[in-house]
Structure formats: C-alpha cells, structure tokens
C-alpha cells in the first residue's frame, strides 16, 4: 500500500513537472532564440541532405547545442562568448567564408562548409566537429545557410580546377621564392614566413578586426587543409573576408605549385621541399639574396 502511494505521488509529480518544464519553456527556447532568414534551408553533401528545420536534430537544434555560444542566435558572430574570442567567430549573415573551393566573391559549396565544420580552424576556438555523425554536420551546413539571404538569391561558385602537382625540384622551389618576393607576399607573411612582415600589424578583416598573417614557421597546419593541394587552392580562391587575395588572375597554375613548394620550406617539418632547400642553401650561401625590400631574391 505504501509503495503504491509513493508511486502514485511520484508519477503524478513527474507528469506535472514534465508538462510544465518540457512542454512550455524548453521547446519554446529552442526556436525562439534562433533567428534565421529562412527556415527552409537545405544542404547537399554527397548522398546526405541536411535540414535546418523539420527533422530530428535539425540544424537549428544542433546549432543551439554546439554553435550558438560563439556564432550567436542570429548567426552574426555575436554569441555570448564572442567577446572573449580571438579571432572572432564567423558572421554567417554576411555569407563570406575563408575556405572555399569556389572563386573569390562567390558562395562556397555545401561540401566546403561541411569540410570546414569537420576540419575546424587551427589557432582559433573553432574545433573540429568530426566526432559528430555526418548527418548532423550536414544539418549544420543547412543551418549556416539559413542566416543569409544570399543563399536564396545566389548559387555557389563553380569549384576551381586544381591541376596536377608539378614535380618538387629545387628549380620549382627557387621560382617559388622569386614569386614570394615579386608578389610581395613577404610584406604580410614576413621574409622568413613568420607572419611578421612590415604590413602585418596593419591588417584587418572584413569586420575591421585586427588579423594576423599566417606564420609558416610555427608548423601549424593551414586553416583550410593540410595538403599541398589545399595550399594551392588558397592561392587561387583567396581567403574571402581577409586581406589574403585570390591570385587566380595573376599567376599560372605551375607557378602556384612553385609557390607551394617554396612555402613548404618555411615550415619546420621534414619535407622534401625543405630538404632540397637546405642542401641548396648550404652550397650557395653567398649567392642567396635575402627576401625583402630592395633585393632581388633568387
């Protein structure tokens, strides 16, 4: 009898509190906090279709669980943690993204966004979300697309073609070094690629926040991927929203590969490019002109 009374009291309480706690404020908080431009955004990533709304663990629900603290309920990068974060979280309402396979100024593909979420961004608070199931990441892509009207009026750009990598030779490295000098990459990235060029301290992003050029000598992986092809793509697409422009109209594909091969020599890893450069530099100490102003580097 006593246990029966206990059970009745308990379950009555559970039902009442479930009704109050779950039925009203919690469900209301999920959507009312988030203010997208559209609730019909979708994404196509491989065989997956992501949904911003309308499915279990939709983009809205998952965005709230994982992303809203930094990117904010409106997707404008003004989450509660944004004030503490450097670099600042991405503003999805501008639909401007660094890591794309598409030409500068165009929208990225869904795969680009998916890869960014999966990879995370080195030297920032954006972690790799690879542990989340793929469908959930696809839903997040749909949610990211829901914050800007651009996705309703524009289509993503056509991904650039990445040509076959040229052989890694000392000639390629040296030509890349010439391009590094000629195209004044050193002004931001510094003569030794340490991110300490004369213009480095003046750089700002599209939100007018200070931004640092990439420091190759730290050995960090690149923001948009770790491979040579990823670095090639960065040259050709540029990193929109940052001072890093696209060189697609300036250099030829084989020159881009030469630049890739040279930049690898600036990193502290044991790579074929670095080995070639070290051997060359040891044998031609007096012939090498330093990179920087008023020199003719070779």
């Amino acid at each position: 009898m006593r246990m029966k009374n206990a059970a009745v009291s308990f379950f009555s309480g559970v039902a009442f509190v479930v009704f109050l706690a779950a039925g009203t404020p919690c469900s209301a908080q999920i959507d009312h906090n988030i203010t997208p431009v559209t609730t019909t955004a979708q994404s196509k990533v491989g065989s997956m279709t992501g949904h911003a709304y309308g499915v279990v663990d939709s983009g809205a629900q998952v965005y709230r669980r994982y992303c809203v603290g930094c990117h904010g309920p409106a997707g404008d990068g003004n989450g509660e943690n944004a004030q503490w974060i450097d670099p600042k979280p991405r503003d999805f309402t501008a639909a401007t993204f660094k890591c794309r396979s598409t030409p500068t100024g165009t929208l990225p593909t869904d795969e680009d966004l998916y890869d960014s979420i999966t990879r995370g961004f080195v030297n920032s608070n954006m972690p790799s979300w690879r542990p989340l199931p793929p469908d959930i990441r696809a839903n997040l892509v749909a949610m990211v697309k829901s914050f800007s009207p651009r996705w309703q009026t524009e289509k993503p750009g056509t991904p650039i073609q990445i040509t076959a990598e040229t052989p890694v030779t000392i000639e390629s490295v040296l030509h890349g070094r010439e391009l590094f000098q000629k195209m004044e990459c050193w002004k931001c990235h510094g003569p030794a690629g340490k991110g300490d060029g004369p213009s480095a301290s003046t750089l700002t992003d599209s939100q007018n926040n200070p931004i640092k050029p990439f420091n190759f000598s730290a050995g960090d992986r690149f923001k948009c991927g770790a491979t040579n092809a990823d670095l090639y793509r960065d040259f050709m697409t540029g990193l929109d929203g940052t001072p890093m422009p696209s060189f697609a109209d300036v250099i030829k594909p084989e020159e881009a590969w030469d630049l890739v091969h040279f930049l690898r020599t600036l990193q502290p890893m044991d790579t074929k490019e670095r080995e070639l450069w070290k051997s060359y530099a040891a044998a031609h100490k007096t012939d090498i002109k330093p990179i920087g102003p008023d020199t003719g580097a070779q």
Partner: protein
Amino acid sequence: MKLSRKGTVNIRWSLISSFFAFSFLVIAMIVGDSQPAYTLPIHKVNAVPAFARKYGLPCSACHTAWPKLNDFGTAFRDRGYQIGNDRDSPIWQNPAYFPMTARITPNWHLEHTTNQPLDSIPGGGSGSTTVSGSFTQHGFDLSGMDFWLVGTLYKNISFSLLPSSDPTAVWHFENAFVRFDNLKGSSWFNLKFGHYELNELISEKRFLFLSSNGGLYQSYHFNPPGDSNNFGLGDNQSGIELMGHNANSYTRYSISLLSSNEGGVNFTTDVVPGAPPAGRTYDVFATFDQAFQLGHDSMAASRIQGFVYAGQRPTNYQTSGGAPLVGIDNEPFYRVGVAGDIYIGKLDIMPFYVHGYDNVYLGASVPSSGPNSVLPTGARGPSWNAGFVEFGYYVNPQFVAIGRYEAVRMQTQALPTNASNYGNIDAYSIGYRWYPFMYSRAGLAFHNEYSITKSMGTIPLSGDGVGALLPASTASNPLPIWSSSLMIGFDFDF
C-alpha cells in the same frame, strides 16, 4: 509484526505530498517566469566551469546532458582534454584562468528499506526482541562534492585532480593522474599514469542517476555474499593505461595495468584509512569499442564495447602479532562483458552485460594455503551474470527522461547450501533532469528520481540497511529486502 502503522503512514505521506506540492510550486514559479535562456539573470553570473571557460563552448557541446559525454566530449577527453587547434597549452590562456569546477547537489530525499532486523522496543533493552520491520527516513540533505581540476599542463600533457568529499566534507582523491597524449604524433598512443576511472563505455561517474539506490550500477559493484573479493568495476583504480583512438574517437582501445589495491592508497585496499592491506599482484583491464551511425536521424553515434578485467586478490595476510601487513595467497577472478550506447533518434539505449567469476577461496573467504586453508564441503568458485538496460530520452537539449532496469543473477553459489537466488538483485530507476538554462559558464539541473531495489537475503549495495533478519532469512532461505529512494535536488556545476 510491523513497526509502521497505517496512521503514521498516512501522516508520512501527507507530509510527502505537501513537499511535492511545494516543489511543484517552486518549479511552476520558475517556469512561469521563464524567458529565453539568454535573458535569464543567471546569465550574468561571473563563474565558469573549466572547459567552457577555456574554449568558450557550452556544456552541451561535450555533454548530451551533463555529465554524460556525447561524441564530441568523448573525442575531447580522448585527445587529453584538447580540441587540437594549437590553443590547448596553458600558455594560450589568460593567466587568471584556473581549470577548476565544483559540483554538489542540495537535495531532499526519502529512503525506505524493508525486512530489517529491528528492536521491538525502540532503544532496545529489557523486553525488546528482534523483529522484522521497515524503516524510513527523509529530509533535506547534501550530496558529496566534487572539486575537479583538469586540463593541460603543456601541449599533449594533460592532468586531472579530483578531490571528492562525502556530505560531511571527508575528502579523498577520486582521481589524480597525468597523461601523455599523442605519443609519436599518433592518437593511437596515449599513456595515463595515476588513479583514474576505468575506460568503460558506460561511465558510472557520468551517468544521470544520483539517488542512494539508483546512483550506482549494481553490476559494477556486485560481489557474491560472503565473498572476500572487494573488487568493483565502477571503482577508480591505480595504475598505468595505454589508450588509443582514431581521429573521431569512433574506434578506441585501452589496456591498463593496475595495482590490486582497489584504487587504495598507502598499499591498502581503499582510499579511506583503516582498510585491509593490499596484495602485491597486478590486474589487467582491456577494452575495445567501435562507434557507428545508426540511421539518419540519430542525435549521436552508437557505440559498442567489449571488455575484460582479470586480476587477483589476497585470501590471507602476512601478519605481525595478528595484525595484517601484506596480502598474500592471491587467487584469481575475472569480469568479462559487453556494453552498448545506442542512439535511435532522441532515444539513448544503453545495454550492459557482465559475467563474473571468483576463485573458490575468494568465494568462500578461506585462505588458499596454510593450516586454515580448509574449504567447506562442495565449495566452488562463484559465478554470476549481471546487466542492465538504461535509457535516456532527450525531449530537447534541456530535458531528459531517464530509466533503468538492472538484474544480477547468481549462476554458481560458492557454497552448495546457499539458495540459488541468494544475493540476486533487481533494481529499477526512473526520473528526469531539467536544465533550466543552457550556456557556457555554469550548469544547473533540477533532478527528480525514484529508484527501488530488491536484494535476496542481503542489504542493498546502496548500504541503506542494517542486515537480513535472522533466522527467518538465511543463505539457504533468503528473504527479499526492498529498498527505495526518492530524490529531488538541484544539481549544479560551477
């Protein structure tokens, strides 16, 4: 004879009903005043849990419902509490940053246990006899407290230090270890050294049950009645662990070499003073688990794990003047089983199974050598099967309903005179947790839980009892002892 009479029962439940009404009123007030989470006054509280403060991520980034880890939280822990973006070393943190979090649960709870040997006259004395009765206690209380420091000492060197107290502030070290992560640049090699939780797929330290009878897995702590083995799968152990995982922690393994001291200190078998001395043998614990996505609308990946624990425990002691010094005459035992964490939509189902075996000398509590090494006739090594099915239904990230059924069944009794069901356990738990706000600085959960256990001839593992009623309940004729817990509390992490 029953000590509890109908009149007192009615009064008691009247009080309980009143308390329910009061608690619901409080909730109604909170709910009625609810606003979107970001406008809650508590949003301005200047206090931060360790990782939320360090990385700016909300609790929900790592927890399905804290403290239970989700896929991202599992990977984060496996990487040595690092997100891997070259911002993990303390050098990147503001010097004022301190990797500390505190957790405690002020609560009201009711405990009720049946078939207990009680004095017929309270206070005992002349004329009092031992009778079967029930006792009930309820009131406001505190849980134990965790004061957890955890993080990185350097890139790829992490640590954890968890002083934990009981409600009276008697402290012990729940864990304390240093971990060398990503050895040789590979996530497949991570070395942990110290005192730590075993790498179990279903963590008893991170589950969502808090009541006296529900706040432990019976399967993790069961040993047959009369057995001298004090091992518990749920107890943190001391040793060294090699652990590895792939990039998303969907494939994981671990191998631990552990002292046979049950996580004790000073070569004893417990973390509190006065425990028996430990043996000089070492245990081994090995696991392998694999995750996979089940369907296209699951809130997390599903996981399965196989595990085996093998070790030895002393059956005798080297002594001085009769006082035990070192455990000797060690005899083997093992636990082997499988666990799962299956997500179907918003439903999380966690099945668990373990088979246990203890050597006959452990089971009969008899030294395995020497003049006292005389086993009772027909004695055998005890074995048993145990398991549970637990569920959590995530209505949304701020509300989870929880439940569990658990069973322990003896397979082989150590003594042939024991009844086949002596020591068997059935346990049921149900409840829910409501997180009134979700952000990246602190956590609060309203916790409501009811748990009940039936143990045959023994007091429940919760300790809510004084023993079986003799001679009515014996090993050959055990009576069921029911023990229930009702708990309402505010679980906060700061």
